[in-house]
Symmetry: C2
Amino acid sequence: MRAETAVAPSLARIAPQSGTSFKLRAGDLLRVYDPLGEQVADLFAFKDGDPACSLSSGRSIDYAGKIYLSTGAVLYANDSRAMFTIVADTVGRHDFLLTPCSQEMFEKLYHWQGHHPSCFENLCCAFEPHGIRPQQISTTFNIFMNVAVDADGAVRVLPPTSRPGDCIELRAEMDLVCGLTACSAEQSNNGAFKPIDYSVVHAAGPSA
Amino acid sequence: MRAETAVAPSLARIAPQSGTSFKLRAGDLLRVYDPLGEQVADLFAFKDGDPACSLSSGRSIDYAGKIYLSTGAVLYANDSRAMFTIVADTVGRHDFLLTPCSQEMFEKLYHWQGHHPSCFENLCCAFEPHGIRPQQISTTFNIFMNVAVDADGAVRVLPPTSRPGDCIELRAEMDLVCGLTACSAEQSNNGAFKPIDYSVVHAAGPSA
């Protein structure tokens, strides 16, 4: 067991196997930290005031010409508008192929019986106060998730390469409603459930 | 130039750079043919009567554990229900990573100026009579599209491996509203614009 790191004052902590939602204004910087290492944070976003406009894995991969997005890459919405730009990234390996872990995933892939906490359920709960329904939550940008694609197309979920304190920084390119989790799946964080930290640096001033 | 093949009586033909929509009942078989070879057909679908339920690349790849889906694979909806099962496939290489080609794609990737026909526009028009808005059309199942993913994550659009007469057959697992195109992008069909043929075999009887 690693000792839990202290939470810096400006950071908000997402408890293990949970999620949260928050708004960003265009120009705000979202920093997502892996405080203990080898943990995953699923991110999804809608345009504030226009939930028909949402994050699109397919457009982002198409326009980037690659499946692994890191510093300099833009995350696009379904209508091809820029939602985020990755402006810093100490890890360089994130997933944008897979939907968030869900009750159905645990049942289909791991024959789980009974309730299992999941990023999808946590995102549904986090977005619900914003009037967003579960079916509007599509493929998430899975920060720190390490998914290999073999030459034959097989997908393998590997332990994240993130170490304690690693961080990705995304600039909001429009006003956004965001959902963010500390992942609930044994397979994506090497069997451990850990927290995720984040901070928001407002375009006009210091962090909040 | 290859000579254009005859259209068998039971087949419907989608003209080059165009699209169509149609309904399937659960159990119906949709056969999509590449009559001339090296052409791509983008497929998207909604549950009939419940357009909040739509095709999900992320769920399908996750549950299959691979990005290249062929015979035996299930295409899932965003709510994890099965939409299609691939029951036959003479090609074995299709794409499920990329959104349909769009005006924005031609501008961003190829610096196109002026209008360019696109699968996205053709799907928007095809779905519009069903009350479906453009932003509801997500990542398509791009039949016969040949997309390689390199070890570093780079995505390369290669000529389709489909030959004249090749076919994929999908069984509808629920009642569906489908959109299907003959692709408009130079890059996905090796520089040629060609038609796509399809037929529907109803669960209860012969083809219609």
